[in-house]
Amino acid sequence: MKRFILLRLFQTIPVLISITFIAFLLMMVTPGDPAEINLRAMMNTESPPKEAIEQMRMEMDLDKPWYIQYYSWLSRVLHGDLGYSYQTRKSTVEEILRAFPVTFLLSSIAMLFSIIIAIPIGILAGIHPNGKLDHLSRGISIIGLSIPDFFLGILGILIFSITLKILPVAGYKGPEYLILPAFALSISLFAVTMRLMRTSMAEVLEQEYIRTAISKGLDRGTIIRRHALKNAIVPVLTYMGTQYGWLFGGAMIIESLFALPGMGRLFVDAAASRDIMVMQACIMVFAIIFIIINLCIDISYYLLDPRMRDTHE
């Protein structure tokens, strides 16, 4: 098992290197002198003196061939130096550290919504396939998958904040500010989870051992609780795990709409004003989150079911 984990870790190294390279490339293709951008922030002036820029270019190895530039950039990154934001003149690391917890919390709450609401509905719909609840949940999930999350967010603001006045509109001053955005963000995951849970439950209930148990006169409720639920919920939870990265990286529009100071808004603002250092850092954070999640899922697959090894070449 150790070997598998090590192998899997080893496999992520080229991916990681490529990601840093892509981030580096981003800086190269974007117009604007990175040395000047850094100096603007450090010296707090719009036009830093020419000599200082030259000095900085030397320090950043910007006068060398690209592979030396990349190496020097990478070693700066590994030392925690990701440059300065062109907009706020703060260090990029500071910006990321401020924004990360917000998005982390937002996507976690979104995930929680799916778990505590979609899964129970899915279970009930699966126990009574083609029942009223099943049809209702199918309808909800069709709409849920078709509505853009930001449009749902707008409707949510209109209903819950303006009309009912029970939730705040925008900004971030406490956990209650995350309810509406998390709900909007979770909608497509919510829809899929609900249907997946329903299907999984219905399938498990069709299995031979469950039927046997029922025919033996065991209480249906007990069987579902004791046996079926456990088996049915595993694929759903693993699916949701794979979706965490998407929630994390997909919060951009929602964060902008609700004025949440998270990674997504940071990234959108950076992209809109070509704030290259911040864009680089965000991209790397998004990618690393993705990689870590995939790693965890692969390892947990392996732990749960050693046969999976074969499909993972």
Binding site: P14, V15, S18, I19, I22, L26, V29, T30, R138, S141, I142, I143, L145, S146, I147, P148, F150, F151, I154, L158, A191, V192, R195, L196, T199, A202, E203, G245, W246, F248, G249, G250, M252, I253, S256, L257, F267, V268, A270, A271, A272, R274, M279, C282, I283, F286, A287, F290, I291, N294
Partner: protein, 292 residues
């Protein structure tokens, strides 16, 4: 291209299948009708729209719905309905072109990786890297650098999108490659390229079509998202996302601006979702996986 979907599924003729579809798959028919209507609307926008979507007439701002302006006018006195109709053009063009691009790239990469062992490792590593970013992140970064505009948005959507297709095509290819009919074709001396395009390609098209229809819907949402953030198609060109963005401050005064665009986005995505999930069902009626 759409008719080829059905052929490889079974030996049934197209007509027989069509009848079955009509009877048993009302949702598929419903989805197709919406989709076709949307496409017709985009193509024939100049004939359908009652007004020029760019024509400002400041005296006629915020008119309520009337026979002349069925959905009223916006803050510049432009016809809301005409803008919503014209708004379908950039969204559809970008979504369709970028989907075709990702399908082509995804097919090529997937077929090569699945068929030729030698390039498999390399191609799949590249695919892994592409899959390591949420697609919206890449799209935004690219649009940020290249600036908004139709070609740059198409590219920004296509570049991160193909990896998913490549994965699916590769695994289908790998399973088909070892099936009997391919083995026998090879034994009869068929060339690799012939086998790839004659035997394997038709059989991987179905799953590709399914992802592609679903992808069409999600691309519409992404395009609208870009427009909503002000990074997509720029005003005054009407596009659903930027209409939604402009309608947001006017939600009280002229709710039809935002609602018209929002409703059309939803209708389109609904159609693609229905078609996509029905195609999946048709391909594999036994599987009940994530059917919506």
């Amino acid at each position: 291209m759409s008719s080829t979907v059905y052929i490889p599924i079974s030996d049934q003729g197209f007509c027989a299948l069509g009848m079955r579809v009509l009877k048993k798959r009302p949702l598929l028919v419903f989805g197709l009708i919406i989709l076709i209507l949307m496409c017709l609307m985009a193509v024939f926008a100049p004939y359908i729209a009652p007004h020029d979507p760019y024509e400002q007439s400041l005296e006629n701002r915020f008119l309520p719905p009337s026979t002349e302006y069925p959905l009223g006018t916006d803050q510049f006195g432009r016809c809301v309905l005409s803008r919503a109709i014209y708004g379908s053009q950039p969204s559809l063009i970008i979504a369709v072109v970028s989907t075709i691009l990702v399908v082509i790239i995804g097919l090529l990469v997937g077929l090569c990786a699945g068929y030729y062992r030698r390039v498999d490792g390399l191609l799949m590593r590249i695919t892994d890297i592409m899959l390591a970013f949420p697609s919206m992140v890449v799209t935004l970064a690219l649009v940020g650098i290249m600036g908004p505009g139709v070609p740059s948005i198409i590219l920004a959507l296509a570049l991160p999108g193909w990896a998913k297709y490549a994965r699916v095509v590769r695994s289908s290819t790998m399973s088909i490659k070892n099936r009997g009919f391919v083995e026998s074709a090879r034994a009869l001396g068929a060339k690799n390229r012939y086998i790839l395009f004659r035997h394997i390609l038709p059989n991987v098209l179905a799953p590709v079509m399914e992802i592609a229809t679903l992808g069409l819907g999600s691309k519409i949402i992404m395009i609208a998202g870009l427009g909503f953030l002000g990074l997509g198609i720029q005003v005054p060109t009407p596009e659903w996302g930027n209409i939604l963005n402009q309608g947001l401050p006017l939600l009280y005064k002229a709710p039809l601006i935002a609602l018209s665009a929002g409703a059309l986005i939803m209708a389109f995505v609904l159609a693609t979702n229905l078609i996509g999930s029905e195609i999946r069902d048709l391909m594999d009626p036994m599987s009940d996986s994530v059917k919506i």
